[in-house]
Structures are given as structure tokens and as C-alpha cells.
Subunit: 435 residues, 2 copies
């Protein structure tokens, strides 16, 4: 090998090594085909623009206008240090039903969390300004902020843009709105559904931002879903709270809980389908099924954009003492750094799954555990399965989407949770670069 060849070889090695320890521009788990085209929802319009809250080269604020008569439901982070916007939204949702129109204004680049009384003040200023310009009572104006924590929100920059946002409202601008609220997301996340209730067409459109339960500077999960279904507020809230448990509350990237997590659903009632007033009617069940599909898709997309993720992992727990117990076991496995690193290393380390069950604190009997990787029976009766061949496990772990199933064998409880692996890129994103 001459000097030039040697230099070329060394440069190639360096490039490979650097790429291995760099954060990818777009998650390798991003859905193919990009952002799903969302259906137009009657009574809903979107706008986005750049206010320069922190980013200067992109949209960072978005507005959703929802027609008079809309029902609004929401679920929020359980953090005891939740942000000013979250507290304000929760307070307003407690006011219950109203026929007034609704506005939702969200910024990225600053989370307005842990900003003391300044935080409340910023929320009030923004809500009052939206109220004045749009002619919507301020108790029907909801906000969210996502980005760096502990810095004062420059709310004047946002307020200056409300006129423009209001002027540019458009029923086709959902994707722009979805992009405006991204922070460390590597792709915009959308999901929609067009279906019929009693033969009349209805639509659901939703988008989410989030790169795990937590991202640098706590810029975490926000989700907005709109529909033209007519539905009572209390029924919508009941449905949302229940579906949330099995979707957004069943995902984890790194076990950390944001101060800003917000999920809101607005139903305008502008479709011609008859009003849902009971969560157990046939129409309601149909709506629940489709809303669930949208929420499953969005929540899985958040996991697929988990910081540094290279594997999407579905964890199915069966035979637990209760559903709640199953979920605790599932999250114990999903949050285990040792299981997540094994997935990253494509190591069929079923012993770590046994450990995850054991550490959950939930009822379990070592000798009744059964574990599958995909369809491969790995362990049963308290020991490795006689039919298990390590080569099969090794081959299975090469898949991008993994499924671990654990049957505890002691009851009827079940749960499914979704997570991703823990890789060098997670460390790169959270430790190597200063915030």
C-alpha cells in the first residue's frame, strides 16, 4: 500500500467511526413516504410562521382555529413541576362545555417552564392577545410551549405574529403547523382517518411532536388531534383519557417525564353525522376505534423518533395479576437500560428480560414465566426453552422492529408498551453537545 492509499484508508476509517458516533439527521425508523397527507376537517384551520423565539430560520409558532360549538378534551403531564401553559389549559378545561370558538397557539424554542410568575404572565399576555385579535373569549384560548427550560418566554415576539397567523389560517395547513412545533424531532409526525358514521363521512387529523418522553431541554411531547365529529365534551374527555392510557401513556424512550406534555382533541361537530352523546353507542365505538388508530400511529411515531433509536420494540405482557400490573412490568422492561442496550447490540439476552420482570415489584413467579422473541419461544418453566436455539435469537435481533412477549402465567392482566433501544446516538444527543 502506498502513502496515498494508506491516507485514503485511514480517512475512510475515520469517517466510518465518526458516522457511528453522530446523531442521524433523520431517524432510521422514520415512516417511509414522509408525512401522511391529512384529511381536511370541517371547522378547523391552521397557520404557522416564524416568530424567532429561538430558531431564526424556520416556523416556530402555530395557530389552530376551531369553529364555534367545538368540544375540547385534553390530557397533560402528571409532573409536579408542569409548565405555566399546562396549568392554564387544565384550569380552562375544567370550565366544561361552551359554544364559543376555540384557539390553540403553540410555540417551539422555549418551554416557559420553571419561569416563576413570569410564566403565568406570558401565558396571560398571549391568551389576551389571541382573544382580542380573533374575537374569542380568552377562556377558550389554549397554549403550549416547548423548548429550553428556565428562560423567560419572549412572548412579545409571538404576540407580534398573531395578526399574521389569523390572516393566514387555512384548512390545508396542518403539516406546516406540525413542523412549527418540532424541536429535536427528526421528522414531522401526522396521522389521519376518513371514515363513515351511519353512512355520513367524518374525518380525524392529528399531529405530534416529541423525540421521546424527554428531549434536550425538556422539549417534549405535544399532540393535537381534530375531528369534525359532533360529540359531547364529557364523552370526548372520557374517550380520550381511556385511549391515552393505551397509547401515549404506554410509550417510553428514556423514562423521563416532561413538564410540558399536552394532548388535546377538538371535535368541531361540523360533519353531518349525528351527535355522540354516549361513549357506548355504536357510533361512539366506531369513532373510538378510528381515534385509537390515529393515536397508536402518532404515539408509535414518537417512539420511532426516540433520541438515537435504531430499533422499535413492542413489549407485550400477558398473564399478569391485573392490567395495571402488566403495564408496570412492561414499562420496567421498556425502561431498563440493560434491555435497551441489548437491543441496540442485537443481543438476544433474554436473561435481562427476566431481570426486568423481577425488578418491576409486581407479582411474578420465576417458574411460570414464558418469554418469546417474535414467534420464537425463548424461555419457559423458569429456564431456557429446550427448543430454543441461540442462532435463531441472533437472527431475530437483526430486525428493525422487535417484539418481546412475556406471559407471567399467574392471571388475566395484559398490556402492550412501545419503546426504542439505547444507543451511542442517545449519548451523543444528550451529552456530547452542550445545550
Amino acid at each position: 500500500m502506498n502513502a496515498d492509499q494508506k491516507i485514503a484508508k485511514l480517512e475512510a476509517e475515520l469517517a466510518t467511526l465518526r458516522a457511528q458516533y453522530s446523531a442521524p439527521a433523520v431517524s432510521p425508523l422514520a415512516p417511509r413516504g414522509g408525512f401522511q397527507k391529512l384529511p381536511v376537517v370541517k371547522g378547523i384551520r391552521f397557520a404557522a410562521t416564524g416568530a424567532g423565539v429561538k430558531y431564526t430560520d424556520r416556523d416556530d409558532v402555530m395557530l389552530i382555529e376551531c369553529a364555534a360549538g367545538s368540544s375540547v378534551a385534553g390530557v397533560f403531564t402528571q409532573s409536579s413541576t408542569r409548565s405555566a401553559s399546562v396549568l392554564d389549559c387544565q384550569k380552562k378545561l375544567l370550565l366544561g362545555t361552551s359554544n364559543e370558538p376555540v384557539a390553540i397557539l403553540v410555540n417551539s424554542g422555549n418551554s416557559n417552564a420553571f419561569t416563576g410568575f413570569h410564566g403565568e404572565n406570558s401565558v396571560n399576555e398571549i391568551c389576551n392577545s389571541v382573544s382580542n385579535i380573533m374575537g374569542i373569549t380568552s377562556s377558550r384560548v389554549f397554549t403550549a410551549s416547548t423548548g429550553v427550560i428556565g428562560e423567560l418566554l419572549p412572548h412579545d415576539r409571538i404576540i407580534e405574529k398573531i395578526e399574521e397567523l389569523n390572516t393566514n389560517l387555512d384548512e390545508n395547513s396542518a403539516e406546516d403547523a406540525a413542523r412549527a412545533i418540532m424541536t429535536t424531532d427528526t421528522f414531522a409526525k401526522g396521522a389521519g382517518s376518513s371514515f363513515s358514521l351511519n353512512g355520513l363521512p367524518v374525518k380525524i387529523a392529528g399531529f405530534a411532536k416529541g423525540s421521546g418522553m424527554i428531549s434536550p431541554d425538556m422539549a417534549t411531547m405535544l399532540v393535537y388531534i381534530v375531528t369534525d365529529v359532533a360529540i359531547d365534551q364529557s364523552v370526548l374527555q372520557l374517550i380520550l383519557s381511556n385511549l391515552n392510557e393505551k397509547t401515549f401513556n404506554s410509550i417510553t424512550v428514556d423514562s423521563d417525564t416532561s413538564t410540558s406534555d399536552s394532548l388535546m382533541v377538538v371535535a368541531t361537530g361540523k360533519s353531518r353525522a349525528s351527535r355522540i352523546t354516549n361513549a357506548f353507542s355504536n357510533d361512539a365505538l366506531e369513532f373510538i376505534e378510528k381515534l385509537n388508530e390515529v393515536m397508536v400511529s402518532l404515539s408509535q411515531q414518537v417512539v420511532r423518533d426516540g433520541e438515537g433509536a435504531t430499533k422499535f420494540i413492542e413489549i407485550i405482557i400477558k398473564g399478569a395479576a391485573s392490567n395495571a400490573s402488566a403495564k408496570t412490568v412492561g414499562l420496567a422492561i421498556a425502561n431498563s437500560p440493560l434491555i435497551k442496550t441489548a437491543a441496540a447490540g442485537e443481543d438476544p439476552n433474554w436473561g435481562r428480560v427476566v431481570m426486568g420482570v423481577g425488578k418491576s415489584g409486581e407479582p411474578a413467579d420465576r417458574d411460570k414465566l414464558t418469554i418469546w422473541f417474535g414467534d420464537i419461544l425463548v424461555a419457559k418453566d423458569g429456564w431456557v426453552s429446550p427448543s430454543y436455539a441461540e442462532q435463531e435469537g441472533l437472527a431475530y435481533m437483526k430486525n428493525t422492529d422487535l417484539q418481546f412477549t412475556v406471559d407471567l402465567g399467574i392471571g388475566d392482566g395484559s398490556a402492550t408498551v412501545w419503546t426504542c433501544d439505547l444507543t451511542h446516538q442517545y449519548i451523543v444527543i444528550n451529552a456530547d453537545y452542550r445545550s
Copy 2:
């Protein structure tokens, strides 16, 4: 630059990058001066040898002989999938006081966990053999195994070595025993104390293995502490259980819980100091203080050998609703991947500490939180402190030993927990190398 210079430069860059992403041979946090010389404890002898359980080039089995009349206490993993040895030790400790001598036999290289009924059989075979050779009743023979999970323990290899171990017992061989039970540890961990009770000299000697709550293949924490103090078994167990809460139960590397964690204390009563029969006597309080020092040292050494650790982090929680609540908050912070990666990146990201408090689920009031990094007041009254300068925080984070203090401002509860940072080396150890 000529070709040779260019090649040299590229090779240097490659070497730097490779070193950055390799596991260190010895933790940078290892105590200077190596393994502390332990005092000789009357009534205790140790031996170690190589049985080839898995490793072939080192000692992997050790024996401790404790004189007749010894009191034995123990605490063990709470995992519901705990190993056969742990279950056997727990059962035997419930038998209470006895005047028979005691033997403790421990192997590394195989954890004998999740091995079904074979596991119980191996433990029984080993205990019976030790009992026969040493003339000790088998209910006073305790075992532990640490290493790979789910593989049958080749107990015959261990049993073959018991004669030799018994012959070689020596009061000066504690360090050999400490080394024989290491798995992924990068240094042996010992701590001892020589002091007086009512003017009469007594000794404590202890050693531990563990590279975090969990290591590859669940080869986790084992701790053995011996003393010549005379003390009733029930008093020793009470003291141990209490001290354990503030030492080994207050450390975390990665939030994962082992199937094998065992901590045993044996008191031979061979010193001339009078017997402790009450946990609140002056002698007991003196003994508690010294035993606590040994346990603090050993538990901190485990954290300092945490997989990939480059920072030792003490988290002090004050002003919580209760001590238990304070500990939950402390562990929520200590287990947060985002806080651990911030420490690795030397980022004074106090917002992530706020997040950690918020996610703990414990009572907290955002506007009453006070946070210090070392002596630097970082945040108070729900916002960054007016006196805080980012440059000070940046300089502080360069330290190897970090201290984060959080005053919740709502009660009198307090707790201290110890952890380490989360680095590329953790990923290297747990994902890059196949087990």
C-alpha cells in the same frame, strides 16, 4: 504537511476516537492507593482459588469460615426472580440464632439464576459438600453466585475445590476473596475499621463486588462484612437492615435490579468487648457508626466502578414531605438518563433536575424549589437564581465528584443517594460487546 505527517496525524486522530469509545481497564473513579489493607478479624478466615466455572485464568471461588458462636445477618435483592442461592440464604437466616460455625461460599462466572429446579439442586449439592468437609451443619452454610444467567452452574467444579479451600483458610486472605468474586468490576472494593468499644479493640472488615445495580449478564452486587464484635443476631439484623437503606439501597448506576444482590454481615464475638444486646446502647451506637462508615465506603466504591462512570454524583434532598419521599425524589434524579448524560457532558443543566423532581410523583411545589450545584445557588423560588452565573456552573461541572442539593421547601424529609454519569462507555460495555 507531507504524506508521512498526514498519516501520523490521521493515526493519532483514530487512536483518540477509539479510546473515547472503549471501556476503560480501570474506572477513572477508582480510589487511589488500590485495595485498602483490611484489619484481621478474630474468628474469620478466607480462601480463594480457581475452579474454572467460566474464567480459566483467575480465582473464581472463595470461602469464608466464621467461628462458632457467630451472629449472621443479611439483606437481599427484592427481585421476584431472585436466584436459588438468595432464596436459600433467606430461608436459612429465618432459622435465627445458632452456636454452630458458619461458612460462606461464593463463585463468580455463573449466577445460577433462572435455572429452574437445577438451581436449587446446585445450591444443595454445594452446601452439603461444604458441610461434610468442614463439619459445619448445612443450615449454616451460605452461598452466592454471580455471573451469566440461565446457564446451569457446573457445581461439580466448585465442589472439587472445597477441600483445597478449607486447607488454605487464612485470616489474611480477605483481598484474595474479594478478587475471586469480581466479574466486570474494574477494581476490588474493600473497607475496614479498627476502633474500641469501652477501651477494648474491635475490628470490621468488608468487601464488595458490583459495577452498578446491574452489570452484563446480571453479575451484580455482593457484599460480605465480618467483625469480631459480639452482638445478638436479632440486634445485628436490625442494625444491618437500617444501615442498608442509607447505603447500598441508596445507590444506583442504571436503575436495574439484580437477581443476586446479597449483603451479609457476620459477627464472631471473638473480641474481648462485651456483648451488644440492645441496638440503642452506647456500644451499639459506636458500632453502628463504624459499620456505617464501612458500608458507605463500599457502596460508594460500587458507584465509582459503575459501568462507564466518569463522574461520581451525590444527590442530597432536603425539605421533602418525608424521608421516604426524599429518597424517591433522589432516586428519580439519580436514575434520569437525561441528568446522567448532562453530567457526562459537564452541562450545568439544572432544568433537568427540576424535571427529575417533577417526574418523581412525590409532593413538590415548583415555586418552593431551591437547587444548588456544590455551593452554587442555581435556582430558587421557581426560577433561576439572580445570583447564578452560567460560567460558575460550567466550571463546577468539570469536577469529578459532583454534588446536587435540592431543597423542596415543604417538609422535614431528607435523603442522600449516590450515582454516576451515563457515558458512551456504558453503551460500549452493554451493547457493543456481545455477552
